[in-house]
């Protein structure tokens, strides 16, 4: 098997595992379908925006939960935004943590919120690493002269 085919197979296997393990959902596929020759870096651009947005939100959340008098409405507003952006790019596990996080906000449950924040950070780092690895594989395929397989 030549280098390109090997890389393509790796790409397909890796992508499939991300869906199977729940890191990504159908929305990510939708994003990939939107990409075309007029906008060949669309997915990378959107995901990069997500990374920037997420890091800001996680910092804001950390600060908000360290306050003397916690403003749960503000915390909820940040989580709502995080839930929205993760949902928009198909980052399913991050989104799921946000759903639980919002419930704790409603209950003004500090321990619950702190736990969820940690989980959100963990899941964010995981998906960021995995997507970066995925984009890396894509680059390798393209540089080897191949084309990136379309995932159905």
């Amino acid at each position: 098997m030549d280098a390109v085919s090997q890389l393509q197979r790796q790409f397909v296997e890796y992508t499939t595992s991300l869906y199977r393990e729940g890191y990504l959902d159908d929305q990510f596929t939708q994003l990939q379908k939107l990409q075309d020759e007029s906008n060949p870096d669309f997915v990378v651009e959107v995901v990069t925006l997500f990374f920037e947005d997420s890091e800001k939100l996680l910092n804001n959340l950390t600060t908000a939960l360290q306050q003397e008098n916690i403003d749960y409405k503000q915390v909820d507003a940040h989580v709502h935004q995080f839930k929205g952006s993760s949902s928009s790019i198909g980052a399913q596990r991050v989104k799921n943590v946000c759903v639980v996080f919002r419930n704790y906000c409603d209950e003004k449950n500090l321990d619950g919120c702190v736990l969820c924040l940690q989980q959100a950070k963990n899941e964010y780092i995981l998906i960021r690493n995995k997507l970066e690895a995925l984009f890396n594989l894509e680059q390798q395929i393209l540089q080897a002269g191949g084309s990136v397989p379309m995932m159905a």
Binding site: Q27, Q30, L31, K33, L34, D36, N39, F42, E45, V46, L49, F50, D53, A77, H80, Q81, K83, G84, S85, S87, S88, I89
Partner: protein, 163 residues
């Protein structure tokens, strides 16, 4: 007469001025970017706004008439797609303002939301929203919306069917 549209490129070439013009309103940059692509992929022209206030200005309802892109000389907005949850003016507030206005009330407004709240949906539909769609939007959702845009454009200046 129209020299720009002719031969060359693709089979599905739509003239610049015939593409429906959509105004996408959302406070999330990520969602604005995604929705913009969804609509341009459906042969629409897109303008985005990050708030209801900005959207109203673009629709000619603000104090600054220079930002009005919805005047009769320039491109006309055929559809407004707004997020429901936005800080300050919500999508519902924007919807109300559009429907209560004297000059832009016939522009169809679609409300999108990540939350499936029946009372919220009812409220928007009662206020005159054409549709309420759950986020995140897919290409198939956008394809279905094109009928709203064509219908409005085709109707103008032809038949008077009454609402």
């Amino acid at each position: 007469m129209d020299s720009t549209s002719s031969s060359t490129v693709g089979m599905k070439e739509v003239k610049e001025e015939e593409r429906p013009h959509v105004l996408v309103v959302d406070d999330s940059l990520i969602d604005r970017k995604i929705m913009e692509k969804l609509f341009t992929n459906s042969a629409c022209k897109v303008t985005t706004a990050e708030s209801g206030q900005k959207a109203l200005e673009l629709l000619g309802q603000g104090d600054n008439k220079h930002t009005n892109i919805n005047n009769h000389q320039g491109p006309k907005i055929n559809l407004v797609v707004t997020d429901y949850c936005m800080p300050g003016m919500t999508g519902y507030d924007l919807l109300k303002k559009v429907k209560e206005s004297s000059d832009i009330s016939e522009i169809p407004v679609i409300v999108v939301s990540s939350e499936n709240v029946p009372t919220r949906i009812e409220k928007c539909l009662e206020e005159g929203a054409q549709e309420f769609i759950l986020k995140p939007l897919k290409q198939s959702d956008v394809k279905k919306l094109r009928c709203h845009m064509q219908f409005t454009r085709a109707l103008k200046g032809r038949l008077c069917l009454g609402r």
